[in-house]
C-alpha cells in the first residue's frame, strides 16, 4: 500500500515536470505587469486622498451643526474648512499630480527620483504648517467656547458646552496624532522605495562579485 502511494507521488512529480516544461515555453510575464507591480507601493496614498475628499463634506456638516447649536462665530469654521481643503489640495499636488504613469517608464526614472525626494520635502512643510494652523484653530475654538453669547444659560446647555469642548479637544489631539502617523507612513513609503533600489543594487553587486 505504502509503495503504491509513493508511486502516486512519483506520478505527480512527473506531472509537475510536464507542467513546468510547458510553462518554460511561455512568456507569462510582460513589461506592463512588472511596471504595475513596481508602482503598487504608492497606491494606498491615492486611496487615502479619495477618503479625505469624501470625509470633508461630512466634517463640514457636523461642524456646522455644532457652530449653529452654540451660536459660535463662523470665522473659525471657515478658517478650518479652508485649511482642510488646502491640505487635500496639497496632498493631491504632492502625491498624485506630481507622479504620472509615464514617470515609471525607463526614460523618465531620473525625473521620478527627483520627484520622490521633492515629495518628501514638500510633505514635511505641509505637515508642519498643517499642524501649526490646526493648533491655532483648536485654541481659537476653545476661546470661542469659553465666551459664548446668545445661548440659554441652562444646566443642559452648560453640560453640552463642557462636553463638546472636552470632546473636541480630545478629538483634535487624536486627529493630530493620526495625521502625524499618516505623515510618517507616507515618508517611509518613499524611503522604502529608495531602500529597495539600494538593496537590489547591493544584491546585484554581490552576485557579480
Amino acid at each position: 500500500m505504502e509503495e503504491n502511494n509513493i508511486q502516486e507521488l512519483e506520478e505527480m512529480r512527473q506531472q509537475l515536470n510536464i507542467l513546468q516544461e510547458k510553462l518554460d515555453q511561455q512568456d507569462i510575464v510582460n513589461e506592463k505587469l512588472l511596471k504595475s507591480s513596481m508602482k503598487s507601493k504608492m497606491s494606498w496614498i491615492v486611496k487615502y486622498i479619495i477618503g479625505e475628499v469624501i470625509a470633508i463634506p461630512i466634517l463640514a456638516i457636523m461642524l456646522s451643526g455644532i457652530y449653529v447649536m452654540f451660536n459660535l462665530p463662523f470665522y473659525s469654521y471657515i478658517y478650518i474648512l479652508l485649511i482642510c481643503v488646502a491640505d487635500i489640495y496639497m496632498d493631491y499636488r504632492i502625491n498624485i499630480s506630481s507622479m504620472r504613469p509615464a514617470d515609471y517608464e525607463k526614460n523618465n526614472l531620473m525625473q521620478t527620483v527627483k520627484k520622490l525626494i521633492k515629495m518628501k520635502k514638500m510633505r514635511s512643510y505641509q505637515t508642519l504648517f498643517g499642524f501649526l494652523l490646526t493648533c491655532i484653530w483648536l485654541f481659537w475654538l476653545g476661546y470661542d467656547m469659553c465666551h459664548l453669547t446668545g445661548v440659554p444659560n441652562t444646566e443642559l446647555y452648560n453640560g453640552l458646552v463642557h462636553g463638546c469642548t472636552i470632546g473636541m479637544g480630545i478629538g483634535g489631539v487624536i486627529g493630530l496624532v493620526i495625521a502625524y502617523f499618516i505623515y510618517k507612513k507616507m515618508q517611509s513609503t518613499n524611503d522604502e522605495i529608495i531602500k529597495i533600489i539600494e538593496a537590489i543594487d547591493d544584491l546585484k553587486d554581490n552576485k557579480e562579485n
Binding site: N4, I6, L9, L19, D24, I28, A199, I200, L203
Partner: protein, 168 residues
C-alpha cells in the same frame, strides 16, 4: 548624484525583471495549484509580484533566491482571499489555458495533478508542492515555518489522503 540614482533604478528594474523571468514557472505553478480559474491565477500572480518587489529590500541572501520566491509565493497564496480581489489585474502573456479541458495527453496529466493537489488543504498543498520539487523536509519546514518533525507528520497524512483519493 541623479545619474547614479538613475543607474541604480534602471539596474533594480532590470534585476527585478530578471528574477521574475527566471522564476516565472515556479510562481505560476504555485498560483495554479491554489486557483480554480484563470482569473484567480492572474490575480495571485500579480499579488506575488508585488510582494516580491516590496520584499526585495528585506531579502538578505541567507536562503537561495528560489527558496525565497517559494516562501513568498506560498505565503501569498495561503493568505489570499477572494474578497480582496484586485480590480486592475493585468492578463499574463500565455497562449495556453490550463483550465481549458482538452484531449491533449499532457494537459490531461496536468489536470490530474491539479485535481489531486486542489483536494488537499492549502497548507498541505504547499508541503506537497515543495516535496515534489525534491526539497528536503528541513527546507520545507523552513519555508512553511514549521518544524521538520511536523513536516514528516503532515507528509504521512498527505500520503494517506492521496491513498484514499485513488481508492475513490
Amino acid at each position: 548624484m541623479y545619474t547614479e540614482i538613475n543607474n541604480k533604478m534602471e539596474a533594480s528594474e532590470a534585476y527585478f525583471s530578471k528574477i521574475i523571468k527566471e522564476n516565472k514557472s515556479t510562481i505560476f505553478t504555485v498560483c495554479y495549484m491554489f486557483s480554480n480559474d484563470k482569473e484567480e491565477v492572474n490575480d495571485l500572480f500579480q499579488n506575488i509580484l508585488i510582494n516580491i518587489w516590496q520584499g526585495l529590500s528585506k531579502f538578505e541572501g541567507r536562503s537561495n533566491m528560489k527558496t525565497w520566491i517559494y516562501r513568498i509565493s506560498l505565503n501569498s497564496c495561503i493568505s489570499a482571499s477572494r474578497k480582496k480581489k484586485r480590480d486592475d489585474t493585468i492578463p499574463l502573456s500565455m497562449d495556453i489555458d490550463l483550465f481549458d479541458k482538452s484531449n491533449d495527453e499532457s494537459n490531461k496529466q496536468i489536470e490530474l495533478l491539479h485535481k489531486r493537489i486542489s483536494k488537499l488543504q492549502p497548507f498541505d498543498r504547499a508541503i506537497v508542492l515543495l516535496w515534489l520539487e525534491n526539497m528536503p523536509y528541513e527546507e520545507i519546514g523552513q519555508i512553511i515555518g514549521i518544524s521538520t518533525r511536523n513536516v514528516t507528520v503532515r507528509m504521512f497524512r498527505i500520503r494517506e489522503q492521496l491513498k484514499n483519493m485513488s481508492i475513490e
